[in-house]
């Protein structure tokens, strides 16, 4: 026993040289982890159609679509020049202040790691709607995207969204902080249609998602739409392998959403704020079909 204690005493003072260098060992162990990684897939030309628009900054594309006044009338996309919606009767907003917007993101969980890769904005310019889609083809362009957002929100801009207060605006604000841009974009006036829609139709419709509002208020169904939940995968697919096919469908989905937002907005202008709740009878609740 004394022997052990004496030896332990000696041992404490000693250090032995490293036998294996940690970095070399790490490489080997990482290499073993790599074996578990999934196999890469090859790609075909159909996967990579060209992206629309022009490069605004390295990694940021801008795609613009104009809809002229005549076509608006025909398509029912026209709005009065001044708007005073029933859910906000105190305000009067001119049509050219409106910024209808929607984003597509790398996920839904929030936090500093959430990337906004597509920002769609619909605004009135001259005598028609101007639709702008800012697409981030490289995460390095994030700052440029945030600046575009801040510019869109500048002046007397009035935001219109569907669930933008809880999701899109906080996500953009996180990005502003990350890039040290102290803007007041998050303070811009904002009509989030989810709230008036919910007040009027909760318990009447099966849910209050945008696609449901579109179907119930406008009577439109989408057919070839890529579900919004597929957007994160489509963007990663593009970054990893350059596949653009599904990314183009995400851009189309974003345009569908903006058009739906505009139509729901227009329809909601006609729904009195104190809309009487229609009693729901079991078995007659319209079920949502679109994802």
């Amino acid at each position: 026993m004394l022997d052990l204690r004496a030896r332990l005493g000696q041992l404490r003072g000693q250090t032995a040289p490293a036998v294996v260098t940690p970095d070399a060992e790490w490489s080997e162990r990482l290499a073993r982890l790599r074996l578990l990684a999934r196999e890469r897939q090859g790609h075909t030309p159909q996967d990579t159609p060209a992206l629309p628009g022009v490069e605004l900054a390295p990694g940021l594309r801008l795609h613009e679509v104009r809809v002229s006044a005549l076509r608006l009338k025909l398509a029912g996309l026209d709005l009065p020049d001044a708007l005073r919606p029933p859910w906000d009767p105190e305000s009067t907003v001119a049509i050219d202040q409106l910024r209808l917007f929607d984003t597509e993101t790398s996920g839904l969980c929030g936090g500093a790691g959430l990337k906004v890769f597509l920002l769609g904005v619909l605004r009135w310019q001259g005598d028609g709607w101007l639709l702008r889609q800012y697409l981030m083809t490289s995460p390095a362009a994030e700052e440029a995207l945030v600046r575009a957002w801040v510019d869109e929100c500048a002046g007397d801009a009035h935001l219109v969204s569907y669930n933008g207060k809880r999701f899109d605006v906080p996500a953009m604000r996180t990005l502003e902080t990350l890039h040290g841009l102290a803007s007041r974009a998050h303070e811009a006036a904002h009509w989030d249609l989810l709230y008036p829609v919910r007040r009027a139709f909760r318990g009447v419709w099966s849910d209050c998602r945008l696609v449901t509002a579109e179907r119930m208020l406008v009577g439109r169904e989408r057919h070839d739409d890529l579900p919004g939940s597929e957007a994160p995968r489509a963007w990663r697919e593009f970054l990893a392998r350059g596949h653009t096919r599904d990314l183009l469908r995400v851009m189309q989905h974003n345009r569908y959403d903006l058009e739906a937002l505009l139509r729901v907005f227009k329809a909601m202008l006609q729904v009195p704020a104190s809309a009487p709740r229609v009693p729901v009878r079991k078995g007659r609740i319209p079920k949502s079909k679109a994802a």
Partner: protein, 823 residues
């Protein structure tokens, strides 16, 4: 400690002298020494220490000075004054002074001062929610006393979501725990931008509890915090507090990655303390069988309570807490009409139950509390007179922390360390100077543990993109970033790596345990369904098998059904005179080798291994007599673990030459494993459970363990018992492995110090005074087995593995050894 304690103490040092009370602790010590002299192997007395005081420094804000004065504080203890000075000069510091020495005031003073004068913010980290809530209550008291207007809030899982915004923007002091920092604050740092921009102090209390796997996780959370602070352009000062450990400064530096000023000399007064080392009397000296520690502790607790003193009893396992509580309740709580005098406290109890026990202890309503290490941490339970340790806690630091639970400012205290028959306990109790002369162990962490590092690099990349030039800790981590890019989680764009995954990585990483998913214990007695306890994943297989007796406050429930997938155990109330203990065995397969060296007539290797642990059955053990009254089978999934290990093999030629039979050789390997494990625990300064041991063939063909009948037995990979002589190739290996997924950095130093380890193991076994072998050297053996003499077999194995001194060893070609499968 509570501020009230400081106050009452300061008051008493200025006010009237308390009347001399008869020293009941000294009287108890005298009685024990007279009656049980043969059991006491050592006694140490620490004399009472008067307080040393220094004036409150001039730079203190007058409002804070007034607040302190309104609470009767006109002076500081010398270590408090030193801490204030060091912090005023801008250094980081770690304060390691004994329990109840006023550590809290070391950081509250400077933090409140900075909040008042510069609107500076502070982040407090406590290891548990309960400690955090105590802390805020205390700050608020001081705050109210002088209307300082400083806002301190807890931020934890219980904070309602509508209050979180206020905490983020209005809190001057935010009190939280590492888990919340990891899961809620850092990943959402932009919401906390305002807080981080004014962050001036980071207080980390109980840093000694951040060791091992948990410590490695916390060190990485702090690296991430540092990145966020850099991003917001602040360099906060760190204030760490620690219980007594051997390396407070080095540990705090390892944890934070920053240079620390250490303050270890307490100026707080202390009463005298007595420490007794207690070895239960021998029953059969030849076999090294002694009276059990639990019976001795139970006797000492009875004597303590009968002397009118309050006791805390520390047991080594949750099971032993329940057994000891039952024994004491049988004596003191047999009348159900009276309030309980004895209560149990351990992990697994629901928070409300624990809070209630804490409160009853503080009020002095309980005379004895029986606890696991759960009470080592600074949970405030008031002062106690006597600390009884049932078994050596495995480290000097843990022993001192447990003993430190007894002790009041003006009265003496007693601590008794009662040794069990384990090798480590017997070594310590027979060699008291090992404990008394050594400084406490060093807290060890390995923040660069591969899997933990990878997990936190994920989280860090989510929080802020990495650039080419970024370091994380001290390391270049480009290789990790490339790996994560290949996985599709990161995307490299020029010089930056961006997070592009759709997940929230912190949600998948639990700082406390590696395998996720606690089990809940559901009571189904009388048709109701009530949750009575929670059990962590790693101990579920050992405590919740069907047929197990599960105890809460020593009340037995029987497990009727275990839903492994749903993580639920259904129990019903039962009345039995026994408890149950699991029988398990471990097999092991090497996956890769990092290093190997010749070791005597064999080889020592270090590498990565796959460990499978299986519970095969359980024993029923009767209360008081501790006889084995039956067995039951258990059928549960294997527990798997990939970790790092060090192992030794002997050449088959040497085995054939030196041992008459394979049984003898197997005994030798099992005994050698036992001795090596004991010595490695001491060398690594870790707790015994951190390090696993196993004996097996090395290629997963078979594993060996001591059976319930006390003999070495071999099992095949599928678990059947094998005939030793029926195995074609007999090449046993002894393994010591890190008992955590991915390893925690213990086995590499053991490989590097293998020569010392073997010498020390030989010293342990040959120096033991027993005949054939005993629990103090190669493990327990049963009567009638004296002829097998596992002790001499174990010595032969160890001697063959050691390189002979002086003579150059004959080289053994590794190719000649049966190669363990490297699949």
């Amino acid at each position: 400690m509570s501020l009230n304690a400081v106050v009452s103490d300061v008051e008493s040092s200025f006010g009237a002298v308390e009347p001399e009370a008869p020293d009941r602790v000294a009287a108890l010590v005298g009685r024990l020494k007279r009656k049980y002299q043969g059991c006491i192997t050592a006694e140490a007395v620490t004399p009472a220490q008067p307080g040393r005081y220094q004036p409150i420094p001039d730079h203190l804000d007058p409002r804070l000075r007034a607040a302190l004065q309104s609470r009767g504080i006109r002076e500081l203890y010398s270590h408090q004054a030193q801490a204030w000075r060091v912090l005023h000069e801008g250094a980081h510091c770690v304060i390691a002074t004994p329990t109840a020495s006023g550590k809290t005031m070391c950081f509250n003073g400077p933090v409140l001062n900075a909040a008042l004068q510069h609107e500076a913010k502070a982040l407090y980290l406590f290891p548990t929610k309960a400690l955090a809530q105590d802390q805020v209550a205390e700050l608020m008291e001081l705050n109210r006393a002088a209307e300082l207007g400083v806002r301190a809030y807890t931020f934890d899982g219980d904070t309602p979501s509508d209050a979180r915004q206020a905490v983020r923007t209005k809190g001057d002091i935010v009190v939280t725990n590492p888990d919340m920092l990891h899961q809620a604050i850092l990943p959402h740092h932009t919401k906390w931008a305002q807080f981080f921009q004014s962050l001036r102090f980071i207080v980390i209390d109980e840093v000694h509890s951040y060791r091992g796997v948990f410590g490695a996780h916390v060190a990485n959370v702090l690296r991430r915090l540092q990145r966020i602070c850099d991003f917001y352009g602040v360099r906060p000062q760190y204030i760490c507090c620690s219980a007594t450990i051997g390396n407070p400064q080095q540990h705090a530096q390892a944890l934070t990655g920053l240079p620390m000023h250490a303050i270890c000399d307490s100026g707080a007064p202390r009463g005298a303390s007595h420490l007794l080392f207690w070895n239960p009397p021998p029953i059969n000296p030849d076999l090294g069988i002694r009276a059990s520690a639990r019976s001795q502790v139970s006797k000492l607790a009875r004597l303590t309570l009968k002397a009118g003193l309050k006791a805390i009893v520390f047991a080594q396992s949750r099971l032993m807490v329940e057994v000891l509580t039952k024994y004491l309740k049988d004596v003191f709580d047999h009348d159900p009409r009276k309030p309980a005098r004895v209560r149990a406290y351990r992990g697994g109890y629901l928070p409300d139950e624990r809070r209630l026990t804490e409160k009853l202890m503080r009020q002095g309503a309980i005379d004895a509390i029986v606890s696991t290490s759960a009470l080592e941490l600074g949970v405030d339970i008031g002062s106690l007179d006597v600390a009884l340790l049932c078994g050596y806690p495995g480290s000097i630091a843990a022993t001192r922390q447990r003993l430190g639970r007894a002790g009041r400012r003006q009265q003496s205290a007693l601590g008794v360390m009662v040794a069990s028959s384990d090798a480590l306990d017997q070594f310590v109790v027979r060699n008291p100077s090992y404990f008394l002369d050594q400084s406490p162990e060093h807290a060890r962490i390995d923040p660069d543990q591969l899997l933990i590092l990878l997990d936190h690099i994920r989280c860090a990349a989510f929080e802020l993109p990495f650039t080419e030039a970024d370091r994380y800790g001290e390391r270049d981590i480009r290789e990790f970033l490339e790996y994560l890019s290949e996985e599709g989680v990161l995307h490299r764009d020029g010089a930056r790596w961006h997070w592009i995954d759709d997940s929230y990585p912190a949600n998948a990483i639990n700082l406390r345990s590696v395998a996720d998913g606690n089990f809940v214990v559901v009571d189904r007695t009388n048709g109701k369904q009530t949750i009575i306890a929670e059990v962590d994943y790693s101990s579920a297989a050992l405590t919740l098998y069907e047929g197990a007796i599960y105890m809460v406050q020593s009340v037995p429930w029987q497990v009727e059904k275990l839903d492994w997938v749903g993580r639920k155990a259904y129990v019903t109330r039962t009345h039995v005179d026994y408890y149950t203990d699991a029988i398990d065995y471990t097999r092991l397969k090497p996956l890769a080798e990092f290093g190997q060296a010749q070791s005597g007539e064999g080889a020592a290797q270090h590498g990565e291994v796959h460990v499978v642990r299986r519970v095969t059955g359980y024993k029923k053990i009767r209360y008081y007599s501790h006889e084995n009254i039956g067995y039951g089978p258990v059928n549960l999934p294997d527990q798997e673990l990939q970790t790092t290990s060090v192992w030794w093999r002997l050449s088959p030629q040497a085995i054939d030459r030196e041992f008459r039979t394979r049984f003898e050789a197997l005994d030798g390997f099992l005994g050698a494993a036992y001795a090596l494990h004991t010595v490695a625990t001491l060398l690594s300064m870790c707790e015994p459970r951190d390090l696993g041991k196993a004996v097996g063939s090395g290629d997963n063909d078979w594993s060996a363990q001591v059976s319930s009948k006390g003999r070495g037995e071999m099992r095949s990979a599928s678990g059947e018992v094998l005939d030793v002589n029926a195995v074609a190739e007999f090449a046993p290996a002894v393994y010591l492995y890190d008992n955590y997924p991915g390893g925690i950095g213990l086995s590499r130093p053991l490989f590097e110090r293998r020569e010392e380890l073997l010498s020390a193991a030989i010293g342990l076994v040959s120096g033991c005074r027993c005949g054939p072998g005993c629990p103090a050297c190669v493990g327990p053996i049963l009567s009638g087995d004296e002829q097998r003499a596992p002790k001499s077999s174990a010595l032969r194995v160890l001697a063959l593995l050691r390189v002979p001194e002086g003579a150059a060893a004959e080289r053994i070609e590794f190719a000649a050894l049966p190669a363990p499968g490297l699949h």
